[in-house]
Amino acid sequence: MAQPDDAVPPQTAAAPAVSAGAGVAGVPVGNPYLAMILAWLVPGLGHIYVRRTARGLVFLLLIVVCLWVGCELQGNLYRPLPGQPLTFLATGGAMGMGLPYFVLRYGADYSGDIVGAGYEYGTAFLLTAGLMNWLLVLDAWDISRGKKE
């Protein structure tokens, strides 16, 4: 199942068809592994890397809005808690936002406010930001391999 893509070297990114625009379907763009890593690190960066700049910027904006609203509402930024297996799952989801998760958790020492009025809503926004970025990682992977326009 993977043989057609494995046969295509990463340097196909420099193909003229790709540089002509983002509307070419089935043309591999760049290195899929790098696209995934970039997409995970900074929301939207993976799409920018595979030359879907406008879409990547809109995705970045949407996720930043989600993060900002979530933090404003003092939502929970999930972290693993012993004896609570679901927090591991939720942490995996929230970590999908990439660098912002670690900046918030370790740089800003953000943890949310459980008695805040918007705690539940904020948690939903923060978790959604992470989950949406996981989907962007997969999307960047597909675009980079030429599986998707």
């Binding site: 949407l62 809005v65 918007g118 939903a124 959604t128 989907l135």
Partner: protein, 63 residues
Amino acid sequence: MSHFFLMVLYSLVVSLFFTLLWRRERKDQVRLFLQLFLGMVGGGLLVAWLMYPFPQGPPAPIP
């Protein structure tokens, strides 16, 4: 920020996200966006309306 505003904002963000992720043609994008956005907001209002007859119960204790 009210509950309704937050619900609309959340629906807006998620609908836009999936519209851009799943559709490329403008006409398809508009259709999917409206389906998702109105489905989420309308669904939320419908559930709220269905729950309206139920009593609220005692007030939550102040932590």
